[in-house]
Amino acid sequence: MAKDTETALDAQPGGDSPLEIREDEHGTRRAFLKLAGAAAAATAAVAATGCGSTAPTTEEFLRQHYKKLSAEEKQRIFARIEEETKARTGVTTHISDPPPLDGVEYAYALNLSVCNGSRRCVEACARENNLPDDPEIRYIRVFEMEAGSLEFEEATPYYAHENLPAKDKYYMPVQCHQCDNPPCVKACPVQATWKEPDGIVVVDYSWCIGCRFCVVACPYFARRFNWVQPDIPPDRINPNQGYLSNRPRFKGVVEKCTFCLHRTRKGRLPACLEACPTGARKFGNLNDPNSEIRKIIETKRVFVLKEDLATLPRFYYFFA
């Protein structure tokens, strides 16, 4: 296609540079028509060859946006995904789609005084959310920070110790902050990612076109792109799956932490929280005045990362 474009542009009369060609209306139209023709031919060729196993089915290709799907349509889609997973891995999975709970807005808090950087949360998250080891995708990065400093340029997520915590270090796990003003959502050209009423920012992997604008827009580097088809051993697949969270992803789509919405919307605590050996992680409903998360926000000196960007994260840090 790139070669076609160059040929088309080069063929313009007097067209020494692309800029000059654009100024020539007639030339531009001709170039456009040539490009359009080539694109149509390429599409027809791809359709004819079938383009391998990752090509969408007709039903998938013609489906509506998630928000416009009826309950029946959703059930059909979930059943198809379950069948595909069964055929590919031999594992029987169950895909649910729990809706946001009325009156609930989630928030997370992390006590940096007690986090010991053991990365138990990272691995628990990987198992819960069906994250591949090769290529390695992890939603949580734990930074080893210099004591008394919040300077990320002096911090590293690449540490390994026998005895944690290391002297004069503290540890700061960073994951999706589920911003109330999420720049990633604004960046998406096809509305494949959006903020739910309970504050969780979700991605419909079937709608994502893989442009990665959201990955660049996120100031916390919380989104991950599947450069290749993720491969998870069948015995490590979590069969309890959510359509908008840990269902199978595929090459060319973006994914991220969803506060384990397939668990949390059913009332459970997130997997990373339960795996934390030090109890540094706290989660709950911001709208409940008696919740632990509200007490933390009201009584501790909480802070958010990159507050100056006005992303309004739902992920708070504190020392206590």
């Binding site: 009156g103 006590n111 290529p135 992890r138 026998e162 605590l269 109890g279």
Partner: protein, 194 residues
């Protein structure tokens, strides 16, 4: 005159139309709450079933309490007492006359399941945070029943510093970053920044 009137009317209309327009609502957190959803109940996990030698009276019944500080050679030899400046040896916290109970400084007896009250008699700030759910590990349901571990689940009362742990495996490095560079990002190499 007419022009001036028209200008005034125009200005008023402009103010009415645009001046008071709310425009785009500023992003605000947590406004317009529906009624709060209660977050369920908390149960403190029982400690006694996990104590292999409980009840203590099974052995201590026919022994005379010895409050002297000494090296234990017969039983409890693995216990290392490394917990602040303690006087009174075992019987600072365990009860001479009722060995199956602990006691607070005012003499109130508490069970091993209520050990947090004893811890809290010195570490009041931590007890306050723990009771509010801000300290310690809680698992289960944020919307429903959840279980909270009391202090001895994480802190050995005789040696309460949280034990050192080994880190889970290191994240794999991006192809463009060397191990040295990744582990010491503040030390510049080849004169290049990071």
């Amino acid at each position: 005159m007419l022009t001036r009137k028209l200008l005034r009317v125009g200005l008023l209309m402009a103010l009415t139309l645009f001046g008071c327009s709310p425009g785009e609502e500023p992003q605000r957190l947590h406004t317009d709450h529906p009624p709060p959803v209660p977050s369920g109940s908390v149960a403190v996990m029982a400690r006694i079933p996990l104590l292999p030698t409980y009840p203590c009276s099974r052995c201590h019944e026919d022994r005379t309490p010895d409050p002297r500080e000494r090296q234990l050679t017969e039983f409890h030899t693995q216990k290392i007492l490394h917990h602040g400046v303690l006087g009174g040896w075992c019987y600072r916290c365990h009860t001479k006359d009722n060995i199956d109970r602990l006691h607070l400084q005012d003499g109130t007896l508490v069970t091993f399941d209520q050990a947090y009250e004893l811890c809290g008699s010195c570490h009041g700030d931590k007890l306050r945070d723990w009771k509010a759910g801000m300290h310690g590990l809680t698992t289960g349901y944020w919307l429903g029943d959840r279980q909270r571990r009391s202090c001895p689940f994480c802190h050995d009362p005789h040696n309460p510093h949280f034990p050192a742990m080994q880190s889970e495996r290191e994240p794999s490095l991006p192809r463009t970053v060397s191990t040295t560079e990744a582990r010491a990002p503040h030390e510049e190499s080849n004169g290049e920044g990071h």
